[in-house]
C-alpha cells in the first residue's frame, strides 16, 4: 500500500508554487497591461510603436517558446534567472500583452463626453485619465482580466518544462513513482478548478463592489 499522504504533501507543495507563480505573474501582467495599453494610446509615435511591438510579439508567439527563451537563451546574453523568476517573467509578459488590449479597448470605450468634461474642468491629460477615465474603464476591464488571470493560472503548468516544481510537475513525479495516474491527476484537476473558482469569485466580488451606485458605464 502506497503512503498517499506523503505524495499529497508533494502535490500541495507544488500547488504553493503554482499559486505563487499565478500571483506574481498576475501582478507583472497587470503592470504590463497598463503600461502597454496606455502606451498604445500615447501621443508619441515611438511609445505607440514600442507598445505595439511588445503586444504583437508576445501575442504572436507561443508561451512555451517564450519561456525557453527567458530561461535558456537570456543567460547566454548574461541575464541569469532562477526558474521562478523566469516563470514569472514569461507568464507576466505573455498575459500582459493580452491585458494591454483589454486596457486600450476599455479606455477607448469611455464616451467622448467624459473627456470633454475633463477639458472643460481644465484637468490635465493624466489627471483626467487617472481620476475620471481609468476608474470607469477599470470596471469594463475586470471581467476580461478575470479570464486572463485564469488563463495565466493554467499556463503555469508549462513552467514544469524549465524544471520548476509546480503542481503539474509534482503530479508527474507522483505518477512516475507510484504508477498511478488517476489519483495525482484527479487531485490537481480539483486543485486547479478550486484556484480558478477563487479567481472568478474574487473578480466578481470586486466588480460588484465597484459597480455599486454606478450606471451608464455598463449598459
Amino acid at each position: 500500500m502506497t503512503d498517499w499522504s506523503g505524495y499529497l504533501y508533494l502535490i500541495l507543495q507544488g500547488a504553493l508554487v503554482t499559486v505563487e507563480l499565478t500571483l506574481m505573474g498576475s501582478v507583472l501582467a497587470l503592470i504590463m497591461a497598463f503600461v502597454a495599453g496606455l502606451g498604445r494610446l500615447s501621443r508619441f509615435f515611438a511609445v505607440r510603436a514600442l507598445a505595439t511591438a511588445y503586444i504583437e510579439f508576445f501575442r504572436g508567439t507561443s508561451i512555451f517558446v517564450q519561456l525557453f527563451w527567458v530561461y535558456f537563451v537570456l543567460p547566454l546574453a548574461g541575464f541569469e534567472l532562477t526558474p521562478l523568476q523566469a516563470g514569472v517573467l514569461g507568464l507576466g509578459l505573455n498575459v500582459g500583452a493580452y491585458g494591454a488590449e483589454v486596457v486600450r479597448g476599455a479606455v477607448q470605450s469611455i464616451g467622448k463626453e467624459q473627456y470633454e468634461a475633463c477639458v472643460a474642468l481644465n484637468l490635465g491629460r493624466w489627471q483626467g485619465m487617472r481620476h475620471v477615465i481609468l476608474p470607469q474603464a477599470l470596471l469594463l476591464m475586470l471581467p476580461t482580466f478575470g479570464n486572463n488571470a485564469i488563463e495565466l493560472l493554467k499556463a503555469t503548468s508549462v513552467v514544469s518544462l524549465i524544471s520548476l516544481a509546480d503542481m503539474t510537475f509534482q503530479a508527474n513525479i507522483v505518477r512516475s513513482q507510484t504508477g498511478n495516474t488517476m489519483l495525482p491527476f484527479a487531485t490537481i484537476l480539483i486543485l486547479y478548478f478550486a484556484m480558478a473558482s477563487a479567481i472568478s469569485w474574487g473578480v466578481r466580488t470586486l466588480e460588484r463592489r465597484m459597480a455599486r451606485g454606478l450606471d451608464g458605464v455598463r449598459t
Binding site: E116, A117, A120, Q136, V217
Partner: protein, 261 residues
C-alpha cells in the same frame, strides 16, 4: 466702457468639407448675458466648443480677457498655443453641457470638488465647503452624497452647473442645457440660471432653443445661420421685430413648433 472680455476676429472652422464658421467676428462685454439662437448646424454650439478649446480653429484670432486663446506671444511673435498656455486660459472659462457629462463614478460632492482640488490645489476641506455653498445655491445640497445615477436630469444639470462654477470662471458657456430634459424639469434648471444671472456679474453665453427664456435672460441676442451672425440686437428687437427674413422664418417655425416667445 471697458474692453471686451471675448473678442472673436474672423475665425474659420470646417468639419471636412463643411464650413461651419466662415470669417465670424463678434465681441462680448464683461458681465454681458448673450443668447445664441438659430437653426441646428448654424455654428452656435461650435462657437462655445471653440471657446472651451474642445474644437480648434482653422483661422482667425480669439482673445479672452485681453489675451490670445489659441496663440502665445513670444518675443513679439504670435505662436500657436501650447498645452500650458491653453490650461492657463481655460481657467477663465467654464462650460455646462447638454448631456451634463457628470462623472458617474463619483458622488455629487466629489464631482464638484475634483477639479478645484486637482487644478488649483485647493485643500479638501476648503473645496468641500465651497462645493456645499454652490450645491446649496442650485438646491442640491441635500443630495451631496448621492451618485449621479440616482438623480433626475434636472438635478444632474444643476450639479453640472455647480461643478463648473466651482472653478470660479469669468465666463460661463451653456450649451443647450435644457434640451435633453423632460419638459417638467426644464424650469428648475432655468431658475438656477436666472439666480446666477441676478447674483453674479459673470459673462454668460447661452445656446438655447428656449426662446422665452432667452428673451428674459439675455442682454443681447445673436441669430446665427450658416456660420454667420444674420442679426443681433436686444431681445425685444429680435423676438418682436426681427428685421431679417431668415430670422423671421426661423422664429415662425419655432413658434409653430409650440415654443413660447
Amino acid at each position: 466702457m471697458s474692453a471686451p472680455i471675448i473678442k472673436i476676429d474672423s475665425i474659420a472652422k470646417s468639419f471636412g468639407a463643411f464650413k461651419v464658421l466662415d470669417g465670424l467676428s463678434m465681441q462680448v462685454m464683461p458681465g454681458e448675458k448673450l443668447a445664441l439662437i438659430g437653426p441646428s448646424g448654424s455654428g452656435k454650439t461650435t462657437i462655445l466648443r471653440i471657446l472651451m478649446t474642445l474644437e480648434r480653429i482653422d483661422g482667425g484670432h480669439i482673445q479672452i480677457d485681453g489675451e490670445h486663446l489659441y496663440h502665445m506671444e513670444r518675443n513679439g511673435q504670435l505662436l500657436p498655443a501650447d498645452e500650458r498656455h491653453l490650461t492657463r486660459m481655460r481657467q477663465k472659462i467654464g462650460m455646462v453641457f447638454q448631456l451634463f457629462n457628470l462623472f458617474p463614478h463619483k458622488c455629487v460632492l466629489d464631482n464638484v470638488t475634483l477639479a478645484p482640488m486637482l487644478t488649483k490645489g485647493t485643500p479638501r476641506a476648503a473645496a468641500e465647503k465651497r462645493a456645499m455653498e454652490l450645491l446649496d445655491m442650485v438646491g442640491m445640497a441635500d443630495k451631496a452624497k448621492n451618485m449621479p445615477a440616482q438623480l433626475s436630469g434636472g438635478q444632474k444639470q444643476r450639479v453640472a452647473i455647480a461643478r463648473a462654477l466651482a472653478l470660479s470662471p469669468k465666463i460661463m458657456l451653456f450649451d443647450e442645457v435644457t434640451s435633453a430634459l423632460d419638459p417638467e424639469l426644464v424650469e428648475e434648471v432655468l431658475n438656477v440660471m436666472r439666480k446666477l444671472a441676478a447674483e453674479t456679474d459673470m459673462t454668460m453665453l447661452l445656446v438655447t432653443h428656449e426662446m422665452g427664456f432667452a428673451h428674459d435672460f439675455a442682454d443681447r441676442v445673436l441669430f446665427f445661420d450658416r456660420g454667420r451672425i444674420v442679426e443681433e440686437g436686444k431681445p425685444d428687437e429680435i423676438f418682436r421685430h426681427p428685421k431679417q427674413e431668415r430670422t423671421q422664418a426661423f422664429l415662425k417655425k419655432i413658434i409653430a413648433a409650440g415654443h413660447r416667445v
